[in-house]
Every structure is written in structure tokens, then in C-alpha cells.
């Protein structure tokens, strides 16, 4: 891996994946040493925050140069390690989804936080709670909703970079209030972990403007059936997308419910760079059929790692034998880190992305 920091007029979007449910993160260089981090994930062995490790590895001054940290939604696979990153990035704004009843949301976080000693709290709630603690000392916050500029960087007199949220919609934000009540009711019990079953409509999909280049980061936003929510709302009601994007971080691990042909037809250039992070728990994403569909849209589909179908962990022979004897049906979710690093010259109006695959990441079309 070329560990050089990009120059002040080189934009960067690096997708970090972990090969399963250990999470994903995206690191963005907006120019002029202004960095942003979207979501966070950790190495399950070392517990290191992967975006933080990556930023340090290329020599970024995390304390001063990370300007904004965005939580696209509070699912475990998007928030692990984010409080560690936020603690270090003392100049950063902390951004999350707008909630209409913030107090109720905070109560849910508080209740779940209390389960920390009962093995039933979600790491995302714990992470979020820790971030709120840090935030009380800094109070640099931003709330995301449709068509909202979250951060802006002036690279020079001619070049400007921006991060703009395309979702959640106003309707989703109102609905979220009802959902919090349901979550408190269904998962409020002291020994219950909140299992992600809720729709991903609250996810913050982002439009990244890097000079004249555009990228869309789909987070886990789903299409759904509501006209005023999810991708349908983005497609019908956006006011900020001024041109088609040449890079797309495919939504929701390439699942069918995150796919909309209209996104490819209306928001993306022909043959864009497409980055995918797999999911590997009770289901495996992306499914082969979907992967073929993405490859039909683009010759530049990249994945951070393969989706593995694994056996149980390697253990002492006697325990492995015991697992076999008892016919235990378990399998390990393998950790396979992969990075898709895309860099582009902000001074060039037509230049294309230079894509590098690192560790387990690979070019799917090959």
C-alpha cells in the first residue's frame, strides 16, 4: 500500500470493510488536509478503530484535520470504535440523524446504556453514549436530514468540496419517534439486546462534492415502498444533486432492498466506480444475482472482501471433536479487512478516479 498522504488538491474516498458484520467505514479527504470519517469499525482481535489506524498510517493529524465524523445510523456494524475516534479528533463536528423527539431518543440510549453490565447492551448505544459524553465538553454537533450541507471546505479560490446529506427525509424523522417508543417497548427489558430489525430509512446517504467530481455514499438506505422515504424520496425530492456521480458506495451491502435501477439511471454516470462491503451473519450479502446486476451496470465494481461461508473457530482438538459429536451447527464470521481507495485530482474537471485495492479487497469484474 502506498502510505503517502494525498496532496492538498487530491480528493480521496476510501471504503474500509471487514468482511462480515464487524462493520464498515469511509474516510474522505476533501482537500487542503480537511478529512471526514463516515461510520467506524474495529479489528475484533486488536479492538483498534480501523479508520483511525488508516488515518494515522498515512500521516494525518487526526486531532486537527478530521473536521467531521458522521454516524449514518446507529447499527452495531457502523459505529464500533467511533467514540475512540471522536475522542482523538478534538476539532471534529459530530453528526447524526435528526430526531423529532430528541429527549425520547436519548432516553432509549440511556436505558440501553444501563444494560452495559448485563451483556445485553448494543455496542452502538454504548459508543453513541460515549460520544454524547465527549460532546458535552465540545458541543460541536450537526444534524443530518435530506438536502442539508454538513460540511464545506474551500480548497482554493476555484475549488470547493462539500458533504451533503440526502436522507433521512422529514417523514422518516417523524416516524422515527414512533419507532423509538416501539423499541423501548420491545427491547426495553433489562436482558434484551436491540436487534436490528428496523428499516434502514434513517440512514444518512451522502452526496460528496470534491471540486467538480461527485460521489454518492449509499450507507444502508433502502428503497422501501414509501414515496417520501428512502431512495424514492431522494430520487424524487432532492434539491442538491447538480450532476451525476462517478463513484457510488453501493447501499446496504448490495442487497436487493437497497437497489434501485433509477439510482443508476438518474444519479450516476455510465460505468461509475462502485464499492461494496459484504455482510455475513444470518444472511450473506451481496447475493450472486445482485452482484451480477451491479457488474452489468459497471466494469468497475469492487468489494472489500469475499463473503465467506465458514466453519466453527479453530479450537483445541478435543473441543472441536466435542462440537462435532454434539452436532453443533455454528460457524465463525471471519474477519477480512479490505480497503478500496479512490483518489481524484480536484483540479481536473474530467479526470477519473484512481482506484487501489488493499488487503482483501478486489475488483469483482476480474
Amino acid at each position: 500500500m502506498d502510505n503517502e498522504m494525498p496532496g492538498s488538491t487530491i480528493g480521496e474516498i476510501t471504503i474500509i470493510g471487514t468482511g462480515g458484520g464487524y462493520g464498515e467505514s469511509i474516510v474522505i479527504h476533501l482537500g487542503n488536509n480537511d478529512w471526514a470519517v463516515v461510520d467506524s469499525c474495529v479489528d475484533p482481535y486488536t479492538k483498534e478503530c480501523l479508520p483511525l489506524t488508516y488515518l494515522r498510517s498515512i500521516g494525518v493529524d487526526v486531532r486537527n484535520d478530521v473536521k467531521i465524523i458522521i454516524c449514518t445510523h446507529w447499527h452495531d456494524d457502523h459505529l464500533q470504535g467511533i467514540s475512540k475516534l471522536y475522542e482523538e479528533a478534538s476539532e471534529a463536528f459530530f453528526c447524526w440523524t435528526e430526531a423529532s423527539d430528541k429527549k425520547k431518543f436519548l432516553q432509549l440510549v440511556g436505558l440501553d446504556y444501563q444494560k452495559i453490565h448485563r451483556e445485553a447492551s448494543n455496542s452502538s448505544t454504548v459508543e453513541f453514549g460515549n460520544c454524547l459524553n465527549i460532546l458535552t465538553k465540545r458541543n460541536k454537533k450537526r444534524f443530518a436530514q435530506e438536502n442539508t450541507v454538513l460540511h464545506s471546505t474551500k480548497v482554493n479560490d476555484k475549488i470547493r468540496s462539500e458533504i451533503i446529506s440526502l436522507s433521512p427525509s422529514s417523514q422518516t424523522i417523524v416516524k422515527f419517534q414512533e419507532e423509538i417508543s416501539t423499541l423501548i417497548e420491545n427491547y426495553g427489558a433489562a436482558n434484551k439486546k436491540i436487534i436490528k430489525a428496523s428499516p434502514n430509512a434513517k440512514s444518512i446517504a451522502l452526496l460528496i462534492k470534491l471540486g467538480s467530481h461527485r460521489a454518492i455514499l449509499g450507507a444502508d438506505l433502502e428503497v422501501g415502498s414509501e414515496k417520501l422515504e428512502g431512495w424514492i424520496n431522494v430520487l424524487d425530492n432532492h434539491t442538491v444533486i447538480d450532476k451525476r456521480s462517478t463513484l457510488f458506495k453501493v447501499a446496504h451491502h448490495g442487497s436487493e432492498n437497497g437497489y434501485s435501477k433509477r439510482v443508476w439511471d438518474e444519479l450516476l454516470e455510465n460505468n461509475p466506480v462502485a464499492g461494496l462491503t459484504p455482510w455475513n451473519r444470518n444472511g450473506k450479502l451481496p447475493e450472486l444475482e445482485m452482484l451480477e446486476r451491479y457488474c452489468n451496470h459497471s466494469d468497475y465494481v469492487y468489494m472489500t472482501s469475499l463473503v465467506y461461508n465458514e466453519k466453527p473457530k479453530k479450537r483445541d482438538k478435543s473441543i472441536e471433536k466435542l462440537l462435532k459429536t454434539l452436532k453443533c451447527n455454528i460457524s465463525e464470521v471471519k474477519y477480512k479487512q479490505g480497503l478500496i481507495r479512490c483518489r481524484v485530482n480536484l483540479e481536473s474537471e474530467v479526470g477519473s478516479w484512481c482506484v487501489e485495492v488493499i488487503d482483501h479487497a478486489f475488483h469483482v469484474n476480474n
Binding site: G21, Y22, P44, Y45, K102, K103, K104, L106, Q107, V109, G110, L111, Y113, Q114, H117, R118, E119, A120, L132, L135, T136, N139, K141, N186, Y187, G188, A189, A190, N191, K192, K193, I194, I195, A197, R281, N282, P312, K313, R315, S318, I319, L322, L323, T325, L326, C328, N329, I330, S331, E332, V333, K334, Y335
Partner: protein, 191 residues
């Protein structure tokens, strides 16, 4: 680690039921009582031969002809392996139910011996005791142990699943979470 089969959950309850310490302690007290009884019976034999000291966990030191002192063994040194029935845990996990299917449930498992990568697994309902089956729901936590049991002279491979039991939130717990929410709300100017 070996425990009596019928008491293996008493030790687990210490973990699964932290809010109800008394039950966990009851199990341990029962264990102690049984060992003390065994000791007393053994003591009668010992009296016949004062030099004989058959149980390594009980120290017999005659102070006089009529009075004998003994130290109550600490729980950590309590040997249970010489009891009739016991369960040796070879591997333990904590799991959370992620998906409920018709005859089974799907769970994410954290290896308590090696908490690095996690595993996922499917469990048939008939592997779960009827009283625990009622506790199966999305998000529910359970402890899973595999190992060998020794019962009535027979060794058997075993898989034991116990769902976590907790006291429901109290009014004070709710108040605490509300206070915390209020604190953040004000401190972060979220009006």
C-alpha cells in the same frame, strides 16, 4: 471447571442473574451444606483414628479430646469433582437471539474463552428446556456451555443452554435513564 450437574446453573446464575445474588448464593450455600454434612459423617470415622484426614479440603486439628476445630473451606478451593455427579465445561458462549424460525432460532455467539471474532449458530427448540423456551425472543441473551457430564458412573457429552433471567427495570432505573436524557438534552442545547 467442574460443577455438580444440578448446581452448574447455580454458578451460572451468578452471571445470568446478577440482580438476584441471593439465588446464586443459595446454590453455593447448598453445596457447602452438603459438603459439611459429608464432613461430619467423615468426622465420625476420623474420631476413631485421629490421625486420619481423608478430605483434603477440610482440615482436622484436634484441639482437645472433646473439641475439634475445622476451617470452613473457601468456595474457590471447594472440590466438587469427588461428588457423584458433575459437569465439566469445555467451552462457553454468550448468545443473542437474532432470528426466530419455525422450529429453531438463529443467534450470534460470543466465545467467552476467546472473545475475538464471533460465531453464528442455529439452535433447535428441542435443545431448550420448556421453562427456558418461553424466554426465547428477539434480542434475548443466553449462556451456552458444552462439556462432559458424569452422572451415576456414566460420562456423557452435553450441551446446556440457559436463558438470562433479569429483574425488570425498576422505576429508579427508568428515572436514571430519564435523568441522563435530560442531562444531555440540556447540556447539548437540543431544544
Amino acid at each position: 471447571m467442574s460443577t455438580l450437574i444440578e448446581e452448574s446453573w447455580a454458578v451460572d446464575r451468578q452471571i445470568t442473574n446478577k440482580s438476584n445474588k441471593a439465588s446464586a448464593e443459595d446454590g453455593i450455600v447448598n453445596m457447602l451444606e452438603r459438603n459439611v454434612k459429608a464432613y461430619m459423617m467423615n468426622l465420625s470415622d476420623t474420631r476413631l483414628d485421629k490421625k486420619k484426614n481423608t478430605r483434603e479440603t477440610f482440615e482436622v486439628r484436634p484441639a482437645s479430646d472433646d473439641v475439634e476445630e475445622f476451617k470452613v473451606p473457601s468456595i474457590t478451593h471447594l472440590s466438587l469433582t469427588d461428588s457423584k455427579n458433575y459437569f465439566t465445561k469445555a467451552q462457553r458462549w454468550i448468545g443473542h437471539v437474532h432470528e426466530i424460525r419455525e422450529n429453531s432460532f438463529f443467534a450470534e455467539l460470543k466465545d467467552l474463552n476467546d472473545p475475538t471474532t464471533y460465531e453464528v449458530g442455529e439452535f433447535e427448540y428441542d435443545e431448550i428446556s420448556p421453562e427456558d423456551r418461553e424466554l426465547i425472543s428477539l434480542g434475548a441473551a443466553f449462556y451456552w456451555s458444552i462439556g462432559s457430564s458424569y452422572k451415576n458412573g456414566q460420562i456423557e457429552k452435553k450441551s446446556l443452554i440457559r436463558f438470562q433471567r433479569m429483574k425488570p427495570w425498576t422505576e429508579a432505573d427508568y428515572k436514571k435513564s430519564l435523568d441522563r436524557a435530560e442531562f444531555f438534552f440540556e447540556k447539548l442545547n437540543l431544544e
